[in-house]
C-alpha cells in the first residue's frame, strides 16, 4: 500500500499516476463513502481501544459528520460559484503525532483532491492500523477512482524527492515546527501553488477560579480529568496542549490546591513520564527560577510540575512538555489580551459566558488565539484549525457569471 520512493524518478512516476486519475468534485459519493467506511472500520477495530486516537479519528469521519460537513460547505458556497478541488495536495505530516496525516489527507480527499501523503519512516502501530484498513478498502473495485488518485509514500533523506513532489502539487500542507516549515520551503512550489503551514504554537487555559471553587467533588473530578486529557496526551507536546493555566478572579491559590492534585492523579494514569522527561522538567524549572520568571513551584509527583509566575509577560513560550504547567493569576479575562501573540493557538476556557469569550476574541482582533474550546477538547481536531477552514482551504471557487 505504501509506496517506498528511492529517487525523484520514483516520485515522478507516482505523480504521473495521480495525474491520470479521473477528476472528481468535492463530496463525490465514492470519496465520501470511502472516508466514512474507513472511519467505521476504525471505530469497530478492537485495537482502537488501546489507541484512543483511532477512535477520535473514526468519529471525525463518521458518515453523519461528513454529511454535516457537505451541508456546511454548500452553505458557504455562493450560488454564482462552483466549488472544485485544489488539485494535487502534498501532505507533510509530523513524524510523531500519528493521526494528523489521516485528518489532513481524508479532509482533502472528501474535498475531491488527489493526494500524496508522506508518512514517517518511524514504525507506528497507529499508522499501521490505519494503513491496513485503507489498503483493504482501496483494493475494492468500487473505490478504484480513489485508489488511482491517492498515494501514501515513504522516503528517507532525499531533498530531490521533496522537490519533485513540491513542484508537482497545487497545495502543500506542512504540519510541524518552525524548523520543519523552513526546511521544506527549500523545495520550491509551482508559481500558482501555495503552502498551508501549521507551525509551532502555544496553547493555554483560562479558568475562572470562583467557578472551579464552586464545583462539587464529582464535577471537579470531571474537570480535572478533562484538563488532564488536554495536558498529558502526546506528552504535552502537541501544539494544542495547554502549557499555562491562567486563573481569572479571586481564589486562584485555593482553586489550584483543589485542581492540581486531581490533574496529577489523572496524569499518572495517562502517562508515566520517563526519567529524561523528569530531568528536563527539573532543568526547565531551574532555568525559569534563575531567570526570575518562576516564583514558586509545586511538584505533584513525577507527573506534574506547576510553576507560578506573578506576571504572565515573563512566562517563556518554550516548554519541556511531559507534564509541566505554568500558573498565573489575573483579575479579569480581558487582562490576558495584552500578553497574547500570534503564536498562541488554543485557549481552553472554563467558567466564562460565550459573550465574554467573544469579547476577548474581538479585543484581540486576530493578534493571536485561533480556537477557544471547553476542557477536554484541546486536542480534538476540527475543520477550523489555526485560523483556516480546511474544507475551504482544500477547495477553490470557480466564478460562473451567467448572462
Amino acid at each position: 500500500m505504501i509506496v517506498e520512493l528511492a529517487s525523484a524518478d520514483d516520485a515522478e512516476r507516482v505523480i504521473d499516476r495521480l495525474r491520470a486519475a479521473p477528476a472528481i468534485l468535492p463530496f463525490t459519493p465514492e470519496a465520501t463513502a470511502f472516508v466514512a467506511e474507513l472511519g467505521a472500520a476504525l471505530l469497530a477495530d478492537p485495537r482502537a481501544r488501546v489507541h484512543p486516537e483511532l477512535m477520535s479519528l473514526g468519529f471525525f469521519v463518521r458518515k453523519a459528520e461528513l454529511a454535516a460537513l457537505a451541508r456546511d460547505v454548500a452553505a458557504i458556497t455562493p450560488r454564482d460559484t462552483v466549488r472544485v478541488p485544489q488539485g494535487l495536495v502534498f501532505h507533510v505530516p509530523p513524524a510523531n503525532v500519528d493521526t494528523i496525516f489521516a485528518y489532513s489527507w481524508l479532509t482533502a480527499l472528501v474535498a475531491g483532491n488527489r493526494n500524496v501523503v508522506r508518512l514517517s519512516s518511524r514504525a507506528s502501530p497507529v499508522v499501521a492500523i490505519v494503513v491496513e484498513h485503507v489498503a483493504r478498502l482501496l483494493a475494492e473495485p468500487r473505490f478504484a477512482v480513489i485508489a488511482a488518485g491517492n498515494a501514501l509514500v515513504r522516503y528517507g533523506h532525499d531533498l530531490a524527492i521533496t522537490r519533485a513532489l513540491s513542484a508537482a502539487c497545487d497545495l502543500r500542507v506542512v504540519w510541524g515546527g518552525d524548523a520543519s516549515v523552513g526546511a521544506i520551503r527549500e523545495a520550491a512550489l509551482a508559481p500558482h501553488a501555495r503552502d498551508l503551514t501549521f507551525p509551532d504554537r502555544f496553547s493555554f487555559a483560562a479558568l475562572r477560579a470562583a467557578a472551579v471553587l464552586a464545583l462539587d467533588d464529582a464535577a471537579l473530578g470531571a474537570l480535572g480529568d478533562a484538563l488532564a486529557n488536554d495536558i498529558f496526551w502526546f506528552d504535552q507536546a502537541a501544539c494544542s496542549s495547554p502549557r499555562l493555566i491562567i486563573w481569572v478572579g479571586e481564589g486562584s491559590r485555593e482553586a489550584g490546591d483543589r485542581l492540581f492534585p486531581r490533574l496529577a492523579a489523572r496524569g499518572a494514569a495517562l502517562a508515566a513520564p520517563e526519567p529524561a522527561h523528569v530531568m528536563a522538567k527539573e532543568l526547565y524549572a531551574a532555568r525559569a527560577a534563575a531567570d526570575g520568571a518562576a516564583i514558586a513551584r509545586r511538584r505533584l509527583g513525577a507527573e506534574l510540575t506547576v510553576l507560578r509566575a506573578d506576571d504572565a509577560a515573563r512566562i517563556p513560550r518554550d516548554h519541556p512538555g511531559a507534564g509541566l504547567v505554568w500558573e498565573c493569576a489575573v483579575a479579569a479575562l480581558q487582562d490576558v489580551a495584552p500578553w497574547v501573540i500570534r503564536r498562541d493557538q488554543t485557549l481552553v476556557h472554563f467558567g466564562f459566558a460565550a459573550d465574554e469569550l467573544r469579547a476577548l476574541v474581538a479585543s484581540l482582533a486576530g493578534r493571536g488565539v485561533d480556537r477557544l474550546v471547553a476542557p477536554g477538547r484541546a486536542l480534538a481536531f476540527h475543520r477550523f484549525w489555526d485560523g483556516h477552514d480546511l474544507a475551504a482551504a482544500f477547495t477553490r471557487l470557480v466564478h460562473v457569471e451567467a448572462s
Binding site: 507533510v92 505530516p93 509530523p94 513524524a95 510523531n96 503525532v97 494528523i100 508522506r118 514517517s120 528517507g156 533523506h157 532525499d158 531533498l159 521533496t162 506542512v174 504540519w175 510541524g176 515546527g177 518552525d178 524548523a179 520543519s180 523552513g182 526546511a183 521544506i184 527549500e186 523545495a187 501549521f198 509551532d200 502526546f234 506528552d235 504535552q236 507536546a237 501544539c239 496542549s241 513520564p273 520517563e274 526519567p275 529524561a276 522527561h277 523528569v278 530531568m279 528536563a280 527539573e282 532543568l283 524549572a285 531551574a286 532555568r287 527560577a289 534563575a290 531567570d291 526570575g292 518562576a294 516564583i295 514558586a296 513551584r297 511538584r299 513525577a302 510553576l307 512538555g321 511531559a322
Partner: protein
C-alpha cells in the same frame, strides 16, 4: 570560629580515602550547608533557583544557559568550558584563585593515592599536537594538561590521524618501562587507538598505571565494559593497574576514582547520592538512579551540589580499605522519544 575556606582546607588536608561513611557525612554535611548559604548570599540566580526548587542542588545543565558566579567578576582567574556533544552549548564554570588551588590540591591528593608521592614518567594516549594551540583548549586538552601535573617526561603517542606511533611507545618503554610509569588517556581512545594496535606486539606495560576517563558510551555500544577493558589490557600488555575515573568540568578536582574493587569511590571532600529518576528521593545501595554529586571545593561558583544527567548505582558502603560508597556509572539518562507536532521531516528535507 574557622572560616569556610579553612574548614574546606582541613578536609582537603586529610587522607582522601578510608573514612567511614557516617564520619564522612558528619564532616561534609555542615560544610555543604555552609556552601549553600554562601552561594545563596553571593549568587542571586542560585538563591532564586533553590528557593523555587526547594532543594540545595541544581541541575548541571543550568551552567550551560546561566552565568552562575559567586565572586566578583574581577576575581575570576579561569573560565572552564565543557566540550559537550557537538552542537551543544558548553557549560561555563567560573574559578577564582582559591577554588582553582583547591581543585589542583584535591586532584593531587587523589592521584597521590594511585601513583605514590613522586611524579612518574608519563605516556599520554593522545595526539602530539593536542596542546599546540594554547589559546583554545578543548576539554580533552584541559584534561590532559591537568593530568600532566602528576607526571614527568610526557610522551604523546598518537599522530594527527589517531595512528599509534609504536616507535614512540617503544622508546618510552626502553627508557622508563623498568619502573612504575603513568599512562593517561580517554577511555575510548585507549581502547581504540592504543590497545587495538598494540595487540600481538608483545610490548610489556606491566609497570604501568593507567588512569583513564571520559565515559563509556562509545564502548558500551561495542559491548566493552570495564571488565572487558581491563582484561584486554592485561592480556595484551600485562598492564594490570587500571583506574577509571568519573568527573565533570562542573566539579573539577573532586573526581571519583576506581579502587582495587573495580568500583568508583568518592574522596573525603566529595560524595555521590543516587536518586530515584522519577521521585528524586534518595535510594539505597543496589538501586540505580540519577547521580547527584556534591563537593566541598567550589566557592567561586555554586557547584557544590549538582544533579547530573548520569545514571549510576551504589554497590556497597564501607567495604574495603577505601570505605565510603562504592559505585558505578551506568551511563547517560536515555533520551525520551520525541513527540508532538514540532517534529516533521525537517532533517530529511535538509539532507
Amino acid at each position: 570560629m574557622m572560616s569556610l575556606s579553612d574548614r574546606i582546607g582541613e578536609l582537603l588536608a586529610a587522607p582522601p580515602f578510608g573514612v567511614a561513611q557516617a564520619d564522612k557525612d558528619a564532616a561534609l554535611a555542615p560544610i555543604l550547608d555552609a556552601l549553600t548559604l554562601h552561594h545563596e548570599r553571593a549568587c542571586p540566580a542560585y538563591a532564586r533557583v533553590i528557593d523555587v526548587l526547594g532543594a540545595p542542588w541544581i541541575p548541571v545543565g543550568l551552567f550551560k544557559t546561566h552565568t552562575l558566579r559567586s565572586v566578583p567578576e574581577a576575581d575570576v582567574t579561569t573560565v572552564l568550558t565543557s566540550s559537550g556533544t557537538t552542537g551543544q552549548v558548553p557549560s561555563r564554570i567560573f574559578l577564582d584563585a582559591a577554588t582553582s588551588a583547591r581543585q589542583t590540591l584535591a586532584l593531587s591528593k587523589i592521584m597521590g593515592e594511585l601513583l605514590g608521592p613522586r611524579r612518574l614518567p608519563m605516556l599520554i594516549v593522545d595526539q602530539k599536537d593536542l596542546l599546540k594551540d594554547r589559546t583554545a583548549f578543548s576539554a580533552r586538552g584541559a584534561g590532559v594538561l591537568g593530568m600532566m601535573n602528576f607526571g614527568r617526561a610526557p610522551a604523546f603517542v598518537l599522530d594527527a590521524d589517531m595512528r599509534l606511533d609504536v616507535a614512540a611507545v617503544e622508546a618510552f618503554l626502553a627508557k622508563h618501562g623498568g619502573a612504575p610509569f603513568l599512562i593517561f588517556g580517554f577511555t575510548y581512545m585507549v581502547w581504540t587507538y592504543f590497545l587495538e594496535p598494540l595487540r600481538a606486539r608483545g610490548l610489556d606495560l606491566s609497570n604501568g598505571i593507567l588512569v583513564h576517563s571520559g565515559g563509556w558510551k562509545k564502548l558500551v555500544d561495542q559491548a566493552v565494559d570495564n571488565a572487558t577493558f581491563k582484561r584486554g589490557l592485561r592480556d595484551a600488555t600485562g598492564l594490570a593497574r587500571v583506574h577509571n575515573f568519573y568527573g565533570m568540568v562542573e566539579q573539577v578536582g573532586s573526581v571519583f576514582v576506581e579502587g582495587d574493587d573495580g568500583l568508583l569511590h568518592a574522596p573525603r571532600f566529595a560524595d555521590v547520592i543516587v536518586r530515584d529518576p522519577r521521585t528524586l528521593d534518595e535510594v539505597g545501595p543496589g538501586t540505580p538512579g540519577v547521580l547527584q554529586v556534591v563537593s566541598a571545593l567550589p566557592t567561586s561558583y555554586p557547584g557544590h551540589s549538582l544533579l547530573t544527567e548520569d545514571l549510576g548505582v551504589v554497590h556497597a558502603i564501607d567495604q574495603g580499605a577505601w570505605k565510603g560508597k562504592a559505585f558505578s556509572v551506568i551511563g547517560r539518562i536515555p533520551r525520551a522519544e520525541l513527540r508532538g507536532c514540532s517534529d516533521t521531516h525537517a532533517a530529511d528535507a535538509r539532507a
